[in-house]
């Protein structure tokens, strides 16, 4: 069992986490001007890197979304960073 670092809860079992997608895959705007190819890129196309990867994950038990940097071959985790913004 691998443990991932939730920025809020600390190290927790991998089964508590859910993969959200590749970091930096931002929704294209404005929607009305996005081509079919643009939507396909956003919805389906992946870089799927072998090696170092930047991914969005959610810790399902506390609901924290965060950026996880890890290696997709060795499964080593390099960094975990919350995506929350400070309250105004």
């Amino acid at each position: 069992m691998q443990r991932f670092p939730c920025p809020f809860c600390g190290l927790r079992d991998e089964t508590e986490f859910h993969y959200g997608g590749e970091a930096g895959n931002d929704r294209p705007e404005p929607a009305a001007e996005v081509s079919d190819q643009g939507w396909a890129e956003y919805l389906h196309i992946e870089t799927n890197p072998k090696g170092r990867s930047r991914e969005i994950w959610v810790h399902m038990t506390c609901g924290e979304f965060f950026l996880l940097e890890r290696d997709t071959v060795t499964h080593e985790v390099f960094a975990s960073e919350s995506l929350r913004r400070a309250a105004p």
Binding site: A40, T47, N48, P49
Partner: protein
């Protein structure tokens, strides 16, 4: 090609002390230039090379493999062959593969040990029986064999199943495909390799593609760890690493790579003579000719290129097996391993031209590539030789992710990949 494996030959060699056998295929050195180049020495790649030579008469064909033949997913799967899908496009594809498998030992003059022992998918509630009936109807309409089984019929086929009133997943009935079964996976790779080599294909092992040669916007070959190889047309069949090769070719694919693990028990006497899958647990089993129970289940949940499985999924698969066959709790696990599979959003393969002209793709088979090997090879060979889709491969073109015409088998047949 040489049809030199026969009972007579076996007898003659037996009398001569087995000194006359030759290697089944040539381990070739790369030449600089070919008409067609196949990347990937697994089942799909080897089948592609074989059908390029056999169906299309190409003479100067090379196949490059970064490791050894059949060392990727072809040697790591659970050997099940079936065509129990929901959509007509999928049944056309997988049943084409199944039909080719039915004649493959004879075609290749190589015993792939295809055993049509049937596949039972077990349902656990009235609602699941409705779904089972829906799939059976769809399969029959699409022209493949399927039957709806009662509880008694399921237990007749697999009497060791958990019959307890207190079972978490009680047996209501199931789906039966009698033509489904298992084959010796290594033999499929070796048989195609032998067939291709006999027809003149250069099979080049330990030859990793490190880049693509592009001239005037068209792929004209590859750079490899053993030098440059030019080719009139190139095809890739590199399950699990499709995204990596796409990256080298300068495009991206709708593919995520996951580890799919499998395991075998110690060998025991014959106790299970079908392939068995529980809808409830997602665990499936068959018994190999050596007596090992071959056990598989769903994907690991973490994207990975590491060819090993994580313990949580292993525990889930084994728990599922114990629910299905409580008596198998006595068995010891002998081996556990994993392969890296291409997972596509609609759980259907990608077969067709790539965004780089001159390069064609066969990939995205998810957890089910082995059963499709003959069709995948046949269709990629057709694309490479003619430049056009075969009618069976057309729906699986990469363009479906832009047009939105997906073939969503995850939703259609609840197949877990």
């Amino acid at each position: 090609m040489a049809k030199d494996y026969s009972t007579l030959r076996l007898l003659r060699e037996g009398l001569r002390g087995h000194t006359g056998w030759q290697p089944a295929w040539r381990d070739a050195e790369p030449k600089g230039d070919y008409d067609a180049l196949v990347i990937g020495g697994g089942g799909h790649g080897l089948a592609t090379a074989y059908y390029l030579a056999k169906n299309h008469g190409l003479k100067r064909i090379a196949l490059v493999e970064k490791g050894w033949l059949g060392g990727g997913n072809t040697g790591r799967n659970t050997t099940a062959i079936r065509s129990n899908y929901f959509y007509p496009e999928s049944v056309a594809l997988y049943d084409f593969a199944l039909k080719l498998y039915e004649g493959l030992s004879r075609d290749l003059n190589y015993n792939i040990m295809f055993s049509q022992r049937g596949l039972a998918v077990v349902a656990h509630s009235e609602a699941e029986m409705e779904m089972a009936a829906r799939i059976v109807n769809a399969m029959q309409i699409n022209g493949t064999d399927a039957e709806l089984l009662s509880r008694e019929q399921v237990l007749e086929k697999a009497p060791l199943l958990n019959q307890s009133d207190r079972a978490r997943y009680p047996i209501y009935g199931g789906i039966w495909q009698g033509r489904a079964g298992t084959a010796r996976h290594d033999a499929v790779a070796w048989g195609y390799a032998r067939g291709a080599s006999t027809l003149g294909v250069d099979i080049i092992q330990n030859c990793e593609v490190t880049g693509f040669l592009v001239e005037q916007g068209r792929c004209v070959g590859v750079e490899t760890s053993r030098g440059t190889i030019r080719a009139g047309v190139t095809g890739m069949a590199v399950a699990g690493h499709s995204g990596v090769l796409a990256g080298l070719a300068g495009f991206r694919l709708p593919i995520r790579s996951f580890a799919l693990q499998a395991m075998v028990s110690e060998p025991v006497k014959p106790c299970l003579d079908t392939v068995l899958l529980y809808m409830g647990t997602g665990t499936y089993l068959s018994q190999s000719d050596k007596g090992e129970l071959v056990i598989g289940g769903g994907l690991d949940r973490v994207l990975s290129y590491g060819q090993r499985g994580n313990p949580p999924l292993q525990e889930q698969v084994i728990s599922g097996m114990l629910e299905m066959f409580p008596s198998f709790g006595q068995l010891k696990l002998l081996r556990q391993w994993a392969g890296i599979v291409d997972v596509v959003p609609d759980s259907s393969p990608i077969i067709g031209p790539s965004p780089l002209p001159g390069l064609f793709i066969n990939g995205g088979w998810g957890t089910g590539g082995f059963k499709a090997i003959p069709a995948g090879g046949w269709l990629l060979a057709h694309l490479m030789a003619t430049g056009e889709h075969h009618e069976i491969s057309r729906p699986f073109d990469l363009s479906r992710f832009t047009t939105g015409r997906l073939i969503d088998e995850a939703a259609g047949s609840a197949i877990a990949h």
